[in-house]
């Protein structure tokens, strides 16, 4: 019984952690806007924790460059399972407008596995919330498969 409660709780309490990888800030402020009164994601139990050790979902905005790819990998490794990664915006999914710049590695999936891609330049808060929901479904599925 407790096991099923835990399973249910996972979907009800996704704690997010936002990492800005080299974004132009456009997506970042939209992620923050999700927390604010208009969108209020805390309704769904989503909290921005800012510490990978407490987080369930990693939101990554922006392109990966040579310096922050290590940070990104490190943060991902420090998150306890089960976890999901959501790449936000054109840059996070593919490198976007910067993809040919000399210090750019590319999208987030060049470094860590990504579960959900949220498009947009910048992605709108609605899209980000939708992405988190899709991510939760993904990670419920992952937990099932792991059994």
């Amino acid at each position: 019984m407790f096991g099923s409660f835990i399973k249910k709780s996972r979907a009800k309490s996704p704690w997010i952690m936002h990492f800005d990888c080299g974004s132009c800030n456009g997506c970042d402020i939209e992620v923050l806007a999700c927390l604010t009164p208009l969108y209020d994601v805390e309704r769904f139990g989503i909290i921005n924790v800012g510490n990978p050790k407490h987080a369930d979902v990693l939101l990554v905005t922006g392109t990966v460059n040579h310096r922050n790819k290590k940070v990104l990998k490190n943060i991902y490794d420090q998150m306890p399972e089960p976890k999901a990664v959501i790449a936000i915006g054109a840059c996070g999914t593919s490198g976007g407008v910067f993809r040919e710049a000399y210090n750019v590695v590319g999208g987030v999936d060049k470094v860590i596995p990504v579960d959900v891609y949220v498009p947009g330049c910048p992605a709108k808060p609605e899209a980000i919330i939708d992405g988190v929901v899709a991510g939760l479904a993904k990670f419920a599925q992952k937990v099932e498969e792991a059994k």
Partner: protein, 282 residues
Amino acid sequence: MDTLILVIIGIVAGPVLGGLVAGLDRRVTAWFQSRQGPPVTQPFFDVAKLLGKERTVVNQWQILCAWVYLIGAATSVALLFAQADLLLIFFVQAVGAVFLVMGALAVKSPYSQVGAQRELLQMLAYEPVLVLVFVGFYLVTGSFSLEALWAQETPLLAKMPLLYLALGFALTIKLRKSPFDFSTSHHGHQELVKGVLTEYSGPYLGLVEIAHWYETILVLGLCAMFWHTNVAIMAVLVILTYLVEILVDNTMARMTWRWMLKRVWLLGMGLSIVNLIWLYAR
């Protein structure tokens, strides 16, 4: 036998009530911030999720310390329900608090280290105030045991109004509310990441959270003792006190420990001493 039943009630009801209080707290806070906020049962989902997460630690001391923190907090609530000696309740509570700090000091993380130091300073601030509150209690009832309270005919608040205010300081610190939320904050945005809790993760963070619920019940229980003659007024007093806590939390910035030490020592101790002198003189 009655005591045993009360203790069991305390141990079981403690986290349930504590979780609900935390849920209501988030709800009211959201209301203050023009938001809707999560469902009241949200803290239970959070903790259940945490308990189901992968166990990751930096070293094994953290596991030990998280458990002892929980055990200490639960024991202190049990003692509260057993109507034991107030000082004893307080010292047992300190066992948990000290272990939480030691677990944070055991890891090589600067955030957790600094957070632990700040947590110790918080203890330094509220402990003397609490002891003085208990001394006031003794002066009124003639005993440090909670049992002695029921023989009193007038509520304690009438005789210890200033001590109740001083207790408010201790309460705010213990509940980790602004302006005293610098060792760890309920909100993630702090210069120390999550301070003393930075390195506790997954199930161990869940344990710490449950222990925190116990502590909430402990301090609210202490507040409730100030109006023991009437259950309705007791409830109103506790609810009012907690609302004031949330109000303060939402209308104050986070302060520094330097500010805290000066204010709590001067104001908190000052209020206590004035009240105690009055009690001695009586």
